[in-house]
């Protein structure tokens, strides 16, 4: 982490993040298997801070497994074996001493299907801070408002904060889930197919939000929608059968991929 050398980087550096970008997440020879079945085979990459990084690839390529490693969501699945290292802001997150709850506060997650609690809009966002022991009502109120503002939802819900979150539209529910994740002030935001259940306008709002949020957070998004990766991300990684085939800045990946398998996938030539 103490790389202050001004010498040119050796050609073997991990793909994806140019030397000028500060890495937020460093993944080193990460392997994951479900029982005997390998799902990730030696992934090494550096994910840049304050950027949107997208993982694309066909179903079963390991992109969601990779995303879920970043806040140890895979711990919850039986028979998972993980080797290799993941460092977030320089700290190894795999070690036994890591407080997983604290890790998930630092690395928030938004899922494919919006999953608001069957509570009021306010209580959904206040949930995290309360769990973390914030007692001051005004402090929670401030946090709820700023999170809802960050998630571009405040203007739509400010007059009905105490209504049930389940009465919001799908797109609003998804932004509420983002607000809920932001309320605990994470450093990284993981998004697993965040727009696959949304219409194009709601999708555009989430993508716009990603662009605004990356100023403060590092965002990693898994998407089946290649156009979404092209529109919304700064870096894109293409995974296939558990391997990171190609990882580079998004315009380069979508105009001049180097690997034939990337080329075939993004041009719609599926083998």
């Amino acid at each position: 982490m103490n790389e202050i050398s001004i010498a040119p980087k050796p050609k073997t550096r991990r793909p994806g993040v140019p030397a000028a970008e500060e890495p937020m997440i460093e993944i080193d020879r990460l392997c994951l298997s479900y029982g005997d079945k390998p799902a990730l085979k030696g992934i090494s990459m550096r994910i840049a801070k304050n950027r949107v990084t997208a993982f694309i690839g066909p179903s079963g390529c390991g992109k969601s497994s990779l995303l879920r490693c970043l806040n140890r969501m895979n711990d919850l699945i039986d028979g998972v074996r993980i080797t290799g290292a993941i460092r977030i802001a320089g700290t190894d997150i795999q070690g036994p001493a890591v407080d997983v709850t604290h890790l998930r506060k630092r690395v928030g997650m938004v899922f494919q299907k919006s999953n608001p609690f069957p509570k009021s809009i306010y209580d959904n966002v206040a949930y995290g801070p309360r769990i973390l022991g914030v007692r001051s009502r005004s402090e929670i109120e401030t946090q709820v408002e700023s999170s809802l503002r960050s998630a571009a939802l405040w203007d739509e819900v400010r007059d009905r904060l105490y209504e049930s979150a389940l009465r919001l539209s799908g797109g609003q529910q998804q932004r509420l889930c983002i607000a809920r994740a932001l309320a605990v002030e994470p450093e990284v935001l993981l998004m697993d197919e965040p727009c696959s259940a949304l219409d194009p306008i709601a999708t555009a709002k989430i993508e716009e939000l990603m662009d605004e949020l990356k100023v403060r957070y590092t965002i990693v998004v898994v998407t089946h929608n290649m156009q979404q990766a092209a529109r919304a991300s700064d870096y894109t990684g293409f995974l296939l059968l558990g391997e990171l085939i190609e990882f580079k800045d998004t315009p380069a990946l979508f105009t001049t991929p180097v690997d034939r398998r990337t080329e075939d996938y993004i041009t719609g030539r599926f083998g």
């Binding site: 290649m226 156009q227 092209a230 315009p251 380069a252 979508f254 105009t255 001049t256 991929p257 990337t262 080329e263 075939d264 993004i266 041009t267 719609g268 030539r269 599926f270 083998g271």
Partner: protein
């Protein structure tokens, strides 16, 4: 290359390629006919070249329309995107080549109304070289062959050289006898048109290299300090 999962998409890309080839064949034929009308003093043939420009214009619109609909409906990426971007650009070059062939035909009609100034020697050589550049650039496009495209780039200076040489020669005719000026100027124009045709072939070859390798070889000076890719 592997086929697209969508057969319809595959067919549309193939159709675009065929449209460009047809257009390319058409303008090559126009250059040949325009030159033939000049050398054989055949104004009827020259008029047919002028008339065929409408087909070229229609083919340009048709090809551009297909490119736009592919961009809008298929959201192409990678080599498909580069292929369509190349198609959009080279169609313009081909249409301009067609216009230049028309210009040659127009000068040919004018020159044929007067006695010949001198036997044509360098002009046919220039036409052969320029036309061969167009043909090879189109072959490189069809075969996705960057090596052939680079060969085309290397041929441009020979045409430029012939143009300079011819200009010098015609200048002596003009200095010698003011009554030669009109005809000598018209021949100079034809040389200039052929030189421009070679430039358009060069543009096509540069785009083919971009299409094949994703590397922009145009204007190296303007690209200094930029990233290697694009």
């Amino acid at each position: 290359m592997t086929q697209h999962t969508s057969r319809h998409y595959e067919q549309e890309l193939q159709a675009l390629k065929e449209k460009i080839l047809l257009l390319g064949g058409k303008v090559e034929e126009m250059i040949a006919s325009a030159m033939k009308s000049l050398l054989n003093r055949d104004p009827d043939l020259a008029r047919r070249v002028i008339a065929s420009d409408r087909e070229v214009d229609a083919a340009e619109l048709d090809s551009d329309h297909l490119c736009l609909s592919l961009l809008a409906l298929r959201q192409p990426a990678a080599s498909d995107l580069r292929f369509i971007a190349t198609a959009l650009k080279i169609v313009t070059d081909l249409e301009r080549i067609g216009d230049l062939a028309v210009n040659i035909a127009e000068r040919s009609i004018e020159l044929n109304e007067e006695p010949p100034l001198k036997p044509y020697i360098d002009i046919p050589r220039m036409a052969t070289a320029a036309s061969s550049m167009v043909g090879r650039a189109l072959d490189a496009f069809v075969r996705r062959d960057p090596v052939l495209a680079r060969e085309v780039l290397g041929s441009d200076s020979a045409v430029d050289q012939l143009n300079v040489q011819l200009f010098r020669e015609l200048l002596t005719y003009m200095i010698e006898e003011p009554r030669n000026v009109t005809r000598a100027l018209r021949i100079t124009f034809i040389a200039k048109y052929l030189e421009r045709i070679a430039d358009h072939a060069t543009n096509i070859a540069q785009m083919v290299i971009f299409m094949c390798e994703g590397r922009d070889v145009r204007h190296p000076a303007a690209q200094e300090g930029e990233a290697e890719e694009f």
